[in-house]
């Protein structure tokens, strides 16, 4: 018990004293995950819009595929990407393995199904009249699309928060294709998973606290967004 308290104390100290090693790891995590979300969002919006608005044969199949991909374990994504990016793999020439870029790619793959599924359902819930009204009032296709996203903004933000929460907390693909390299591809989760093997728990606890705080923050934001979204529907 005493040991646990001492470790917690040490962890808090690392956090509030802005321990550079600790905050570097946090920085890498956020940089990688934010980049992944930013890159994944525009295509996800487009796909979600098509799924929500265009009736094409096999649409239900596409939707269930997206839902299936949501359930793929992160280590499987990591393994497949590892084999693709490996020196002996088809994309080996890109020399991306064990770089932040590779991690971003992995996280894009992990984030996209969640983004698409959640964006799809929120865009679908926007009234068909919204598109017609905007187009009749002089909006071009892109402007009308932007209007739809604006109307669905709480759903969009909720999707982004949920996807961000998933990828910043995932460890399977981050270890496999990032490699947990210090100053470079070491993220919050890979550090917790592997650095504690050293027997130094304080840093792990501190990083765990960051993730926990982040999860709390994201959930509160999500709750607020849901509230706003429901108000919007009922209004």
């Amino acid at each position: 018990m005493h040991e646990l308290m001492a470790t917690m104390g040490k962890a808090l100290h690392l956090l509030v004293s802005f321990d550079p090693a600790l905050w570097e790891i946090i920085g890498v995590s956020f940089r990688v995950s934010l980049t992944a979300i930013l890159v994944a969002l525009p295509p996800a919006l487009l796909v979600a819009l098509v799924l929500a608005r265009v009736a094409f044969p096999g649409r239900w199949l596409a939707i269930s595929l997206v839902n299936t991909f949501m359930a793929v374990p992160t280590v499987v994504v990591g393994l497949v990407l590892f084999m693709l990016l490996s020196r002996s793999g088809p994309l080996g020439e890109w020399q991306l393995l064990f770089t932040q870029r590779a991690m971003v790619i992995g996280q894009i793959i992990l984030a996209s199904p969640i983004l698409i599924a959640m964006l799809h359902s929120s865009l679908q819930s926007i009234d068909q009249r919204a598109w017609e009204t905007a187009r009749q009032l002089g909006a071009g296709r892109l402007q009308a699309f932007a209007m739809l996203i604006h109307e669905a903004r709480f759903g969009v933000i909720a999707a982004v928060l949920a996807a961000f929460g998933r990828i910043i907390a995932e460890v399977g693909s981050a270890v496999m294709i990032g490699g947990n390299i210090e100053h470079f591809t070491r993220t919050i989760t890979t550090a917790i998973a592997l650095e504690t093997l050293k027997g130094e728990f304080a840093q792990g606890i501190a990083l765990g606290m960051v993730l926990l705080l982040l999860a709390l923050l994201l959930n509160v934001l999500l709750g607020v967004m849901r509230g706003r979204g429901q108000q919007m529907v009922s209004a």
């Binding site: 040991e3 490996s86 020196r87 393995l97 064990f98 270890v175 490699g179 947990n180 390299i181 210090e182 100053h183 470079f184 070491r186 890979t190 550090a191 592997l194 650095e195 504690t196 093997l197 050293k198 027997g199 130094e200």
Partner: protein, 281 residues
């Protein structure tokens, strides 16, 4: 009726608990390094011990740092590790008792077959590392405070180099993962010979430096201090330790082969003889 069923359930539950409790007394928990575990030595040795003794051994493969930490926290009954300095500190601090040398093997420096940094063929590990740092070659370090990592840091220190060149990558992962990374990145790394032999068929790497006495890698078995924790199976732990350094255990260790190669040299009761590690295959 229901009451009777419930009491039957309760009896069954208590019986089950007693059974597991009785079994728990026979379990020995051994923390060892991943490299030892991956070599297959324990899978070969321990069943032979279990045959003749009323114990069941649970092996927990972790880095040396974590293994000693598990011992310090009383989460295991004994440790089998290969980091002399850390082990000495462990015993000196009173966390462990009855240290015994069991065996040794050696480390090798591996890298790409075409060896861009040109360290091949030497038998001076320190000089080789200095060259790698000098040429900013890609070097993947365990970076996990393991025995191998401690050995590596010791060698950097001897070379008078702080390993902060830009292509030095501290991976914080096990030996297998680090070898795989080294192969992918076509870099260099320090590895124990056991993991190397087990994995080399899947790697695009070669041994470049071996045979330096500084690459000598002694293993010790240490009991967790029974005065610090109740509930330790010290009796079982001592039986295992004594068996490992007995004639029977030592003969078996010497007879162990990995892919036809000798990997470990029994060394109980001997003065440490680094020359035995040279050219160990």
């Amino acid at each position: 009726m229901l009451k009777r069923r419930l009491s039957l359930l309760a009896i069954a539950a208590v019986t089950a608990m007693l059974a597991t409790g009785a079994q728990a007394a026979e379990i020995i928990r051994l923390a060892t390094t991943t490299s030892t575990y991956n070599s297959g030595l324990l899978d070969y040795l321990l069943p032979k011990f279990e045959q003749d003794h009323p114990y069941q051994i649970q092996v927990i493969p972790v880095g040396t740092g974590k293994a000693l930490r598990l011992g310090r926290d009383g989460d295991v009954d004994l440790v089998l590790t290969h980091a002399p300095a850390a082990e000495k500190a462990f015993v000196d601090a009173g966390y462990g008792v009855e240290p015994h040398g069991v065996m040794y093997n050696d480390f090798v420096i591996v890298g790409p077959s075409d060896d861009p940094a040109g360290i091949k063929g030497g038998d001076d590990a320190v000089k080789a590392l200095a060259t790698l740092a000098d040429k900013n070659a890609t070097f993947v370090s365990r970076g996990d405070d393991s025995g191998t990592n401690k050995k590596e840091n010791h060698l950097w220190k001897a070379a008078g180099v702080t390993p902060d060149f830009s292509n030095y990558k501290a991976a914080g992962q096990g030996m297998g993962a680090v070898l795989k990374m080294t192969s992918e990145l076509q870099g260099y790394t320090l590895t124990d010979r056991g993991t190397w032999l087990a994995m080399k068929d899947n790697l695009d790497l070669s041994i470049l430096v071996e045979g330096d006495t500084k690459l000598f890698n002694p293993y010790q078995v240490i009991l967790v201090n029974p005065e610090r924790y109740k509930n330790l199976n010290t009796e079982g732990a001592r039986a295992l330790a004594q068996w490992l350094i007995s004639d029977e255990g030592q003969t078996l260790i010497d007879a162990f082969r990995l892919k036809g190669k000798v990997l470990f040299h029994a060394s109980a009761g001997e003065a440490v003889d680094p020359s035995k590690a040279v050219g160990a295959n």
